[in-house]
Symmetry: C2
Subunit: 223 residues, 2 copies
């Protein structure tokens, strides 16, 4: 088994998290070699400084977690965060508009954010827990069309997080054209592998240290 770390966005998005906790998050990300730290907009400058010179990317969120800010707001938030040094942007679609079947509005929003993000990869959270399978497929098509880099299952704030079935559905629809990020409720190594096996190319979790430690233990057993 390969090392899970490069697949993991090391994530801390709790409203009550403090700077000391984000400092630990950044240290762990370097130590374990995670793909990125995923943290709140207000802590992007802090993470940029802490991770200077490392390979760990700074990932943050836009329109998070509800997705119902004005488009103008989401676009200016994206521009500001990229200017501050964010290297990956996880945005939330306007879920209610998708449920209304207003696909054009959803596509327009993603396109504008992709434009505002310049070369920074955009992951688009479609919040699967509110969608039927038909809408999950349509949303993934829209995400591909709008030029985003990934479709992402969940915010972790909804009634449920990533499921293996959803990851499989999104990966089948994306068909290699974009990445698939699984997030929400992925708390151990076996769950991580299930997501990868289902087609996830990135995993967002606050349990990255636990997952990689479990992997190291398994490696040591085999040696």
């Amino acid at each position: 088994m390969i090392n899970p770390a490069p697949f993991i966005d090391h994530t801390l998005l709790k409203p009550d998290a403090t700077e000391a906790m984000f400092a630990v998050l950044c240290e762990e990300a370097v130590e374990y070699g995670f793909a990125s730290v995923c943290l709140p907009p207000a802590f992007v400058p802090f993470a940029v400084k802490r991770l200077y010179g490392s390979e760990v990317k700074v990932c943050t969120v836009v329109g998070f977690p509800c997705g119902y800010n004005t488009l103008h707001q989401k676009v200016t938030e994206t521009s500001e965060l990229v200017a501050l040094g964010a290297e990956e942007i996880d945005m939330v679609i306007p879920v209610g508009r998708l449920i209304e079947r207003n696909l054009l509005l959803v596509e327009e929003e993603i396109s504008q954010i992709v434009l505002a993000s310049e070369q920074v990869p955009v992951k688009v959270i479609i919040e699967c827990c509110y969608l039927d399978d038909d809408l999950k497929r349509r949303a993934t098509e829209v995400v591909v069309k709008a030029g985003a880099a990934y479709v992402k299952t969940s915010t972790g704030f909804g009634p449920s997080g990533a499921t293996v079935a959803d990851v499989r559905l999104l990966a089948a629809t994306a068909a290699g054209r974009i990445g698939v990020k699984a997030a929400g409720g992925i708390r151990d190594l076996s769950c991580f592998w299930e997501m990868i096996a289902a087609g996830a190319t990135r995993v967002g979790t606050s349990s990255g240290v636990k997952i990689v430690s479990a992997w190291h233990k398994l490696q040591n057993c085999k040696d």
Copy 2:
């Protein structure tokens, strides 16, 4: 008993709510005489049109529900929403900064949003579920000092909503200098009255129709 309606912000902040649901929210607010509709930023223009000529105010949210957007973002969001016609702003403080005891930063943020809101009343959500009583008191003092109109208990997105004890504590600290808004989990008439008795001057709830209908029934019984 007096009519609960004028104390109620008729609230719909679910990520999956559709325009049709916001249309019903606005109709109900006029029919029942609620203080305001409280809805997502992206639906402010819609509500402004729908409520034109009525007494119902358009209330929306800033930095909601996590409070960890950049200050620049929260300020521009406030300005945009006021320009779009929002008549009340419910903002979320950076809770982690309060927990770090960085009271100055919290006060500065509220002050800037109060300034950006011009004459529009600002309600400040301190998200009590993450705070001990000392921090709830300190936060309320900061809210008063920064010139906001209300201190508000909860977003409704945290692990718990308004409690009678919290409303009592906030009201005692505010001591009539600002209003107290109770929100989160207030779903029936008896809970509504408990909050008012504890010192709430405004109540945010998605159960306003049920609450006012229960009150009407009681009135009819007495006639």
